[in-house]
């Protein structure tokens, strides 16, 4: 199943070329959880604070169900 991964802010230290305009295309097995995807990307779960699947909040135990899903990973971010 094909998905698109976007990483932001300090998570780009590991993947400097993955941006909103240039997401990473990945093949995953059906039933893959976000925790497994995080591990496959070599992130620690602690550094990923906010996960969006197609713009909606998700948690690490959620399973990625939809072909073509956009998964966005953020560290702790804030501002005003």
């Amino acid at each position: 199943m094909k998905i698109f991964v976007k990483v932001f802010a300090s998570l780009r230290k590991k993947y400097p070329n993955i941006t909103d305009l240039n997401p990473l295309e990945m093949e995953i097995d059906k039933g893959t959880t976000l925790a497994q995807l995080i591990a496959r990307l070599n992130f620690n779960q602690e550094e990923v604070k906010i996960i969006l699947v197609n713009g909606l909040r998700a948690s690490v135990e959620d399973i990625i169900n939809e072909e073509g899903s956009i998964i966005s990973f953020f560290p702790a971010v804030g501002g005003g």
Binding site: F8, A9, G80
Partner: protein, 610 residues
């Protein structure tokens, strides 16, 4: 009051060119703490005085000499407690909105005012010729400022620091936009820090007051220094360990929000016609850091350093040095206008800083003009050849300086989107609340911030109660209306307390009410706890509300633009959403003890405001 305060306020009557010191009693300080709280208290007293004189405050002109302008610090300002260089400014009335004038600024001016020997300054009246005020080591003087009139914020600040031979002095001043009485003019300090919202620069200018320079060597006494120093250390550690204040903000500045807000489908685009901007990455914090950042730039005593020193090396918008832009400026000048060009945003933001204007109101009003033009509402002759399309960066730059100098269509931009959209026959295209342009979060994607915009006393404002911290950056369901009344109330009351302390709202990403008690207690010697502090915040919010009620602002004004209430978000992750404001507002009024936006008699008595 022995500790935390300088025990001295300055009252300046510019009409009489007189000034005198006064003090605030400890029982009033305990009720309102400082900063915004004391300013609201003084404005409420002033309303009574005006009413006694038979003046109807409802019809009161914000640019009349009788408007009161207050610069205020609090007990935390200027101490070793982190991020405490800030100050709060208020006016009885805003020339932009007709509601109360209120703004808060970073920099170092707040701390320097205390070092100069004062907790705050109250200004009334108007001089015939331009003046500036110096407060150096407790000595106050009013000087002629004719030679400063026309100078921008950088020129003014440099001139005054050189003239007084005080290289690190704090200078608050107005730029040409203020002098031209643009209703969205700001008061700038340290060249790039603004008391940004509600047009307080125009109020200062209407008094012919160009600047206030402050410097000195006094320090507030601390009641329990050992306990205080221990708590300072703990608070700094918490700020360093927190992901937002320890890494996100220092590395990327507030612009780190561009991508996450856009990924949630609530980054207002094309004057809020949609919440999705496919090119937001080009104006993101990541892009700013990679391509334009020289260094970070902390305010006085700041351990976060979200401020940016930036430059543009190539292209049409070259600039060798400026500061910013931050998230809101980027969105207003570059996102809702859809120019998606960081270099142009940096240039337009620089113009806002040196001419002295609020980039949120400027950018948002330009975007409203773009939509008016898209719908054919602006006559050809008013456009004067400007190609006012969404996405045209040159038009944004041109209109920014035209706004400062009230040229052509810039006149109407400067009047604010409410008046401009009324003038061109489409009032619903103004994305404002109570006449104040809303900031960069579409509440169709986070309902609590919509309630906060609607009920904010100064108008459409995020830093009245930043529920985004819970709804987008935290774990609260962003689409539900359930629980948002309580969330909004707590955020608003806590923020009133922060703005009275006075320190930086960003501390609250890492520090809560308990930590505020740990600052204010040892500084003042008061035995305060978080409940008392939240009640103080509630008291200030209510008293401010009682003032705007005097202007005829009530429940009917606690609303949102029709677009957010009725037009479904057309695309993206927030697709199909509107804001069900009435449900939240009813619950909010009940929690607040308000009837139709007016504090009830019982609430007034409960908070000791009778």
């Amino acid at each position: 009051m022995e500790f935390g305060y300088m025990n001295k306020w300055l009252k300046v009557n510019l009409t009489l060119k007189e000034f005198k010191d006064f003090s605030i009693s400890e029982d009033i300080l305990r009720k309102y703490v400082g900063g915004k709280g004391i300013a609201v208290h003084l404005l409420w007293k002033y309303v009574s005085k005006l009413e006694e004189k038979g003046i109807n405050v409802k019809d009161f002109d914000a640019l009349s000499s009788e408007n009161m302008l207050i610069f205020a610090t609090g007990p935390v300002t200027g101490t070793r407690s982190p991020n405490s260089g800030r100050h709060h400014v208020m006016a009885l009335k805003s020339p932009l909105t007709g509601s109360i004038g209120s703004g808060n600024s970073g920099g170092r001016w707040g701390a320097k005012l205390k070092f100069a020997g004062y907790d705050g300054i109250v200004v009334i009246g108007k001089t015939e010729k331009p003046v500036y005020i110096s407060i150096i080591d407790g000595s106050v003087e009013i000087h002629d400022a004719t030679e400063l009139w026309g100078k921008n914020s950088i020129e003014t600040s440099n001139h005054l620091r050189n003239k007084h031979d005080k290289k690190r002095a704090g200078v608050s001043c107005i730029g040409p936009a203020g002098e031209n009485l643009v209703p969205m003019a700001v008061i700038i300090n340290e060249e790039h820090r603004a008391v940004g919202r509600t047009g307080l620069g125009a109020v200062m200018a209407s008094k012919n007051l160009k600047a206030i320079i402050v410097e000195g060597n006094s320090k507030p006494n601390i009641a329990k220094p050992d306990e205080f120093n221990l708590k300072v250390k703990e608070h700094v550690e918490k700020l360093k360990e927190n992901g937002v204040t320890g890494e996100g903000l220092p590395t990327y500045g507030t612009a780190v929000l561009v991508n996450i807000i856009n990924q949630n489908g609530m980054f207002p685009t094309k004057n809020w016609q949609t919440g999705v901007n496919p090119d937001a990455e080009k104006i993101s914090g990541e892009t700013l850091t990679e391509e334009y950042l020289i260094d970070k730039h902390p305010c006085w005593g700041c351990v976060v350093a979200c401020g940016r020193k930036t430059k543009v090396d190539k292209g049409n918008y070259k600039i060798t040095y400026t500061e910013g832009p931050e998230y809101e400026s980027i969105w207003a000048l570059g996102g809702t206008t859809t120019i998606n060009n960081m270099a142009a945003v940096i240039k337009a933001n620089h113009y806002c800083d040196i001419f002295g204007m609020d980039p949120i109101s400027v950018g948002s009003s330009i975007a409203a003009a773009m939509e008016l033009n898209e719908k054919g509402m602006i006559p050809e002759e008013d456009l004067q050849g400007i190609d006012l399309r969404f996405g045209n960066a040159d038009a944004v730059i041109e209109l920014t300086w035209m706004t400062a100098f009230r040229q052509g269509l810039g006149f109407w931009i400067g009047e604010g989107s409410r008046k401009m959209c009324q003038h061109y026959g489409s009032p619903d295209l103004s994305m404002s609340v109570k006449g104040l342009e809303m900031p960069a979060y579409d509440p169709r994607g986070a309902k609590g911030i919509g309630l906060n915009y609607a009920t904010g006393n100064r108008g459409g404002c995020h830093v009245t109660g930043y529920t985004i911290a819970a709804e987008i950056l935290g774990d609260v369901d962003r689409f539900t209306t359930e629980g948002k009344a309580e969330l909004t109330k707590i955020f608003q009351d806590f923020t009133s307390l922060v703005n009275s302390s006075v320190n930086c709202l960003f501390l609250t990403f890492a520090l809560g009410l308990d930590e505020y008690a740990e600052m204010i207690g040892p500084i003042t010697g008061w035995d305060v706890n978080s409940d008392e502090l939240l009640t103080i915040g509630e008291r200030i919010t209510n008293l401010e509300r009682m003032i705007i009620n005097k202007f005829g602002i009530t429940g009917k004004d606690d609303t949102l633009p029709k677009r957010l209430l009725e037009e479904k978000m057309p695309e993206g992750p927030s697709k199909g959403q509107t804001v069900d404001l009435d449900t939240m507002k009813e619950e909010y009024y009940e929690l607040r003890g308000w009837v139709d936006g007016i504090p009830s008699e019982e609430k007034i008595i409960e908070l000791g405001l009778k």
